[in-house]
């Protein structure tokens, strides 16, 4: 490939936010994924925000059918997928219409003008072609006939015209790759592997990719080429990872670290299904994935596998957790280890299946009948899902309890570079099964008491079917302390209820302290949990730049709380809690610690921008909201 860099100015950028948008059949997610991968391989820090409609294929050309992928690439550490994109690639009028308001004023808009015919304009409600009514005056607009150029580029390849047209996303990728000096090689490798069995598809896609690149290089239209150089990452080997993949790998790692086979009971649900798909690919680790007839059976099968001595998981989203509630309570009563992973989405009911929200926190902590306390942990970034899957498993196994791990749609589908951990440095989370008698019965005979607890952890012994002499019956009925026989006495139920609670509370001494990010002596604290970590961190950075620095903490453990949390909160005059719900953690903090924590909320199916958090703080300061 000839280098025409001498013709254009290559400008160094410290960061850029690009948004690819098109019809849901246009392959925008793939385009975004590939650009992410090439950027990560180039050493940038990257964060992504895929957004796609709930319908598999909403009517073509409509606003409802628009699928978008936002990517933030940077030469320094970044925390969000970007508040305002600098560049929009719009494959059709609907994409332009639905996305333009988000684009930074003065930003670049690249249009596939082949799709700007009257029919498509009408479909998405444009009465006048937006290229002609002055509505794009604030933007640098590039009009590119992507579809016809793609068809032209693939003319010599034996593909149908329709299939050739489908490669136009690769043309767009090639063009943007040229603009931001991204190598095409990783994408070419990927295409060759992905379509190995369809050489004509490989040829068409590569031709389109190269044509897009050449178009940028040769046309006068694109005078500028930009470069975002590598971010100064810590030394190590990196890979690009989504939250769902990291969760699945964390589950596999947990099985290896616990030296137990993994069992996953699951039922397809957006946005959690990819965890099931990923695990199903790795049966060579001895993983049993069971796609059950429903959410309840998925959780039930996990309980059964846990009784049999497997490290048992069930993966789902909020509606599925609602259905699993009774089964989770059974695991709670029987005190069997199990990890429930909730990839949260917008609710209630079917809600916004493909959009992110963090509104299942109270459901996780309190959403079961009876007093059924259980540990709840939450991941804060895509790669952190790996660590938290291990941590949830550690707690479940050590304390013989169901544990809920909360992630969300944004973490699940978002991607970031991950400094791969040294496998040998991961914690040993193995536990011992009981194989011998641990008590004497009323007649002085040796006996096995399934509810004779470890005095330190209050965990009960875990004896597996197949162990001679330790035959015992678990169940949902209240059990006698110690012997584990069915027992309804008032004193025993009170005792067992308090023991179950004390066991979960006691985990607080076995989890890390919450760490203050900042100087520790400011009067304002931002408190986050889950996927808001990046937005809150960026808000903290901006506040510091503006001369109003704040401290920040981020909770990874919500039940029980970090043991120093109350003390930390009480150090601050002002405590703000940004959440993608209507104020759930803030309720818990206020009731638990009697602090006047203020809530900042968002319910739009999207992550916070840093500016939204800052404006939420200002609203409290100005007295706009209580």
């Amino acid at each position: 490939m000839t280098n025409t860099a001498d013709r254009v100015d290559k400008t160094n950028l410290d960061q850029v936010v690009i948004r690819f948008a098109g019809d849901s059949g246009d392959g925008m997610q793939l385009t975004g994924d590939r650009f992410t991968s090439a950027s990560a391989l180039a050493g940038n820090d990257v964060l992504t925000l895929p957004e796609y409609p709930a319908e598999i294929r909403a009517p073509q050309g409509t606003v409802a059918g628009v699928s978008a992928f936002q990517i933030h690439i940077s030469d320094h550490e970044i925390y969000t997928p970007g508040d305002e994109p600098d560049v929009l690639v719009a494959m059709n009028p609907a994409a332009l219409k639905s996305q333009i308001a988000r684009i930074k004023s003065g930003g670049t808009v690249i249009l596939n003008i082949d799709a700007f015919d009257e029919r498509n304009l009408t479909k998405c409600g444009y009465e006048v072609d937006p290229r002609e009514d002055g509505s794009l005056d604030d933007y640098i607009v590039h009009e590119v006939p992507m579809t016809s150029l793609t068809v032209g580029a693939t003319a010599d390849i034996d593909v149908k015209k329709r299939d050739a047209e489908r490669s136009k996303n690769l043309f767009a990728l090639g063009l943007v790759s040229w603009m931001y000096t991204r190598s095409l090689e990783p994408t070419i490798d990927w295409v060759e592997k992905k379509f190995a069995k369809k050489p004509e598809v490989v040829a068409a896609n590569i031709a389109a990719l190269k044509a897009g690149h050449a178009y940028g290089e040769t046309t006068e239209m694109f005078a500028d080429q930009f470069e975002v150089v590598a971010a100064p990452h810590a030394p190590g080997t990196y890979t690009n990872i989504t939250g769902n993949a990291a969760t699945a790998w964390g589950m596999i790692a947990a099985g290896e670290l616990a030296k137990l086979p993994i069992f996953l009971g699951s039922y397809p649900i957006t946005p959690a299904s990819d965890i099931l798909h990923e695990l199903a690919k790795h049966k060579n680790f001895g993983i049993r994935t069971f796609q059950a007839e429903d959410e309840i059976a998925a959780a039930g099968a996990a309980v059964g596998a846990a009784f049999g001595g497997h490290l048992a998981f069930t993966t789902t989203s909020g509606p599925g957790v609602a259905l699993k509630g009774e089964t989770i309570s059974l695991a709670n009563m029987a005190e069997l280890p199990m990890v429930i992973i909730n990839v949260q989405r917008g609710g209630p009911s079917t809600g916004l299946p493909t959009k992110t929200e963090a509104s299942d926190l109270l459901q996780a902590v309190y959403g079961r009948h009876g007093e059924s306390p259980l540990p709840v942990v939450a991941a804060y970034s895509p790669s952190n899902c790996f660590d938290m899957a291990i941590e949830a498993s550690r707690i479940a196994l050590k304390y013989r309890t169901p544990v809920i791990l909360l992630t969300d749609g944004y973490l699940a589908n978002g991607a970031e570079p991950w400094n791969l951990p040294d496998v040998d440095g991961l914690p040993d989370i193995s536990v011992e099964f009981t194989t011998e008698f641990n008590a004497e019965d009323a007649n002085g005979n040796p006996a096995f008491y399934p509810f004779l607890r470890d005095p330190e952890t209050l965990a009960r012994p875990w004896a597996l079917p197949g162990t001679p002499g330790l035959e015992h019956r678990l169940g949902g009925l209240e059990k006698a302390d110690g012997s584990g026989n069915v027992e309804y006495s008032p004193e025993n139920h009170e005792l067992m209820s308090r023991l179950r609670k004390a066991k979960v509370d006691g985990i607080a001494s076995d989890i890390p302290l919450v760490e203050v990010h900042g100087t520790g002596d400011r009067d304002t604290l931002l408190v986050g949990w889950g996927s808001t970590a990046g937005s809150i961190t960026y808000a903290q950075t901006l506040l510091e730049q503006e001369g109003t620095p704040v401290d920040r903490i981020h909770l990874t453990h919500i039940s029980p709380f970090h043991s120093n949390l109350g003390e930390v909160l009480k150090r601050y005059k002002h405590v703000y809690v940004p959440e993608l719900n209507m104020g759930q953690l803030v309720k818990m903090l206020r009731s638990e610690f009697l602090v006047d924590a203020k809530s900042i909320t968002k319910m739009k199916g999207l992550p916070f921008t840093a500016r939204e958090i800052m404006s939420g703080m200002n609203q409290h300061i100005d007295g706009v909201v209580a």
Partner: protein, 342 residues
Amino acid sequence: MSSTVEIQTDPTKRGHWTSSQEVRWCPGCGDYGILAAMQFLHTELGVKRENSVFISGIGCAARFPYYMNSYGMHTIHGRAPAIATGLALARPDLDVWVIGGDGDMLSIGGNHLIHALRRNVNIKILLFNNQIYGLTKGQFSPTSEVGKVTKSTPMGSIDAPFKPLGLAAGAGASFIARTHDLDRKHMMATFKRAHEHKGAALVEIYQNCNVFNDGAFDAIVKRANRDEMMIDLVHGEPILFGAEKQRGIVMHGGGATIAEVADVGLDAIAIHDEKNPDPSVAFALGQMADNRQSPTPFGVLRAVEQQEYSEAVENQLKLAKKNQGEGNLHDLLHSGATWDVE
């Protein structure tokens, strides 16, 4: 106190299989007979009690695991087949029995039952059918007859009942059988067949609830009625019944009817073939269960060989290891595109 010294009991005696827990069904309940049959069966099976697991849901029948000296779990309403499926997949080395009533298995848990049967998971499901909700004190169940007057149906039930064995045949069950709580020998023989079967087995047990639905099956299973009302199925034999074996079953396009041998001749009587791959024959027999009115088949309706589920799961694990090599965590983490930062 830690010791593996066990009080030795004789596995060929019922006491070896009896837990220390007091049995708390109503006096006269049919469940006592079923428990005894199961315990006596275990004195003959030559299995170890640590390898048997009884999983139940909710209902009177579901207390069963507490009374067996084995591993067990009394779970939640309707979910026993799902929980047992997880255990059977995790631990193919165990004997997993599932115990439940008609409400548990066919109403709240109907979905789990049919899916366990169609997957052919290696679990043995005993359906205690008493045609009533007992534990909640007498509401009609999914097997109650139309017109049944109960607390929740003072004007009589208007729900058409399930015929559980027809349902099982429809779900593709590989083993389907019926027995009743008054005949321990028949129960033991039927449970034994279920135990020997590789795959999911459904055994319906006509079980008397002497408090809320007393005598529901008297017209069939009382000793005086058995000759004329119970149709004993014997593999390879013509399906005949009656004191003089004077009646039999004739199969015809899509159904089974009862005929007098004298009218149709012995050659017209169907030969029972429990191995028939076509489930419609078992379905036709399973639908012959108008309990208060007409003769009803007992014994094994269907016992066919099908791929057992946990074996298929294990085969895939072995194949994955063969094709991909033993899983290696370091390699997994490095399986995507990676780059090094110095």
